[in-house]
Symmetry: C2
Subunit: 391 residues, 2 copies
């Protein structure tokens, strides 16, 4: 199996992470976030439903990777480190009432002499449960366990040339996929059949490469469901006179390029057509405001200036950093485009700008994923930015 | 939107849960497990990447459901309770460094006077992070916060007639899907194109109903990858002379029926053919051992008696309870088929028996999902139980 990055790139990531750790006064970092594990080690597999961790130690060159025993083979195939850095825990740790996989991780840390000093954990990482933390804290009595926050996520925020290349590939995938959605959705067609076509287009991809599983399945609320963003498909047909919101992503080597569009079957009601125009005008203004040195909240201000002038108000955030990820989310949990976020934009940040408007029984989403360049914003996709009306 | 169950069925689940809570001495239960939230309230959506919870209070008829504000509309559409039981938190709680969604949840509990007594949380539920628990513990100083363990999961273990019906539907879906996989996989075909066909078959489903997204994407390690179970597809072609392990599931209204099979392109090597026969013999013996009153470990003993006689050894567990679930897992985290699990089998338990064998550079999986009946085991699928050789 070919890894998607050179060993040098993984080692550079580890080095940057160590620098941030040193600044924060951490001796050891336990990364339980699936994307962070992949980022630091290359390990890839749908195994995040049992505990796993990458261990970065300031005085050690390469990280350790600890996974379930039956996934040890997967770690050997995908992680860049030598076998002596890989551990698999016995299967009787899995979903047991007597022992916890984090007990095993504690044992490895003790064996390697990493059970002291300031040990940072990712306290709000999806799969780092309260029980995991209790097992660690109980096992490492001599350590000072602190919150790493999103330290590694913030390293991930600036993308390398190869990462940008994979997101560009993902853009080709999502363009194809959105086009397939436009073609599949029609009055009388079952939502599940359209979902089948959408996924097929994505996985099959291009002649050069196929699509990976995105971190989120196609979001495609239809009709009154468009008032809320996270419903998936049903076995019911699409209806003439109704809108469908499509939030999709291309995914290549776990790197995402998301895109949202709104489709209407038949002539759209004025409120939808008008609000779509406002969203597109606001989106363009917000993209125009992007350049290095500008703060996230300033981009939001540019958006608000447009939509408020048209009497539209939006309370929820209008974007977030994206790139490498695993289910359940393709966001990176770092910068958000929203009021109060004072993060300063820098070149090679990659952001999904998705100013969704959800009303009582309808809504609209039109989005762009872009890279911050030296001078502005460069969108990954080349796809018509419009309310798509199919008659 | 039609809910998949009558309101009476949801209320019966809540009532059973309350009984278990009373036995355990819990006043309030905070269920953060996505499947438990759905089970107790009906709430359904791909929104589990931000915190959400179902609150069961002994003295309150219906549970509360607290989700992110933009998912409130989804809760109104899918949960069975009235609007006064639903809460959505403002978007500035999402991935913020200043406030945590569990701070909002604490506020709701205080408003409803539920901030005292013994409050049980699901400490090892995927999305109940260490940070979530800290926010709760900090906010509810007057409460006695204890671990609920898998209390609701154990309620879910015994399936109702309607739940069995959905799993039976899911069996039809996975039979079609496995057949599609057999047809799609051939020398020279890219793995991603086969994945596209597999998913298409599942989502499109039958003329009566389509498939939901399963909790896990198709697992389909190929060639040397069959030595490890959790690799997904690549853009590389399948090769003649190589095996592919397929672990798939049908999913209907979030109820799963998983199935694993092993396919070989061209005449299989003797070790694979021989081991497959041992697995099938052992699987049959284990299914024969199933009946109410028998313990999980006794079923495993029946399996081991067969495979050890043939010189095959397996350390990892050979099955688990399945049914309702969300990513990242379709297992229920209750009973396991493994040595030491003394759970007594009861009618209408539903179990995926998957005795996978993974060697240094090859492996085999052949599985059955079954229901415990009054007298034995009834498999959900009617699909040839064999090493599938395609020449």
């Amino acid at each position: 199996m070919n890894r998607p990055f050179d060993v040098e790139e993984y080692r550079a990531r580890v080095l940057t992470t160590k620098g941030r750790m040193a600044d924060a006064g951490f001796d050891t970092l336990l990364a339980a976030d699936t994307a962070n594990i992949n980022y630091l080690t290359g390990y890839d597999g749908w195994s995040f439903y049992t505990p796993q961790v990458a261990v970065v130690f300031l005085a050690l060159d390469d990280p350790l990777c600890i996974v379930r025993g039956i996934d040890y083979g997967g770690a050997r195939v995908t992680a860049f480190m030598g076998d002596d850095q890989l551990y698999g825990y016995p299967d009787d740790y899995v979903q047991s009432t007597e022992r916890h996989p984090w007990d095993f991780i504690v044992g490895v840390l003790k064996d390697r002499g990493l059970d002291r000093g300031r040990i940072a954990v990712e306290k709000d990482s999806y799969y780092y449960t309260a029980a995991s933390h209790e097992a660690l804290a109980t096992g490492l009595e001599q350590a000072d366990i602190v919150d790493a926050g999103h330290l590694v996520n913030w390293v991930r925020v600036i993308k390398s040339t190869q990462e940008i290349a994979y997101m560009t590939d993902a853009a080709r995938l999502v363009e194809n996929t959105m086009q397939a959605a436009y073609e599949a959705i029609a009055p009388g067609v079952r939502q599940c059949d359209a979902a089948a076509e959408i996924n097929h287009a994505h996985y099959s991809g291009t002649p050069e490469f196929g699509g990976d599983y995105p971190s989120i399945v196609p979001m495609m609320p239809s009709g009154p469901g468009t008032s809320t963003p996270h419903l998936t498909w049903t076995s019911q047909p699409f209806n003439n006179g109704e809108a469908t919101i499509l939030e999709l992503a291309g995914c290549r080597n776990r790197y995402h390029c998301p895109m949202a569009r709104t489709l209407h079957l038949g002539p759209p009601p004025a409120k939808l057509a008008d609000t779509s125009k406002v969203v597109m005008e606001g989106l363009a203004a917000a993209l125009d405001a992007v350049r290095p040195g500008v703060r996230c909240e300033e981009v939001v201000a540019a958006w608000n200036a447009v939509i408020n002038r048209h009497g539209v108000v939006k309370d929820s955030r209008m974007g977030y950093s994206t790139g490498l990820n695993y289910p359940p989310d393709w966001g990176e949990h770092t910068l958000s485009l929203r009021a109060g976020d004072r993060t300063v934009l820098q070149p090679d940040m990659t952001i999904h700008m998705i100013p969704g408007i959800w009303m009582d029984d309808w809504g609209v989403e039109i989005s762009e994923c872009f890279r911050v360049t030296e001078t502005g914003a460069e969108t990954f996709c080349d796809f018509p930015r419009e309310l798509y009306v199919k008659t």
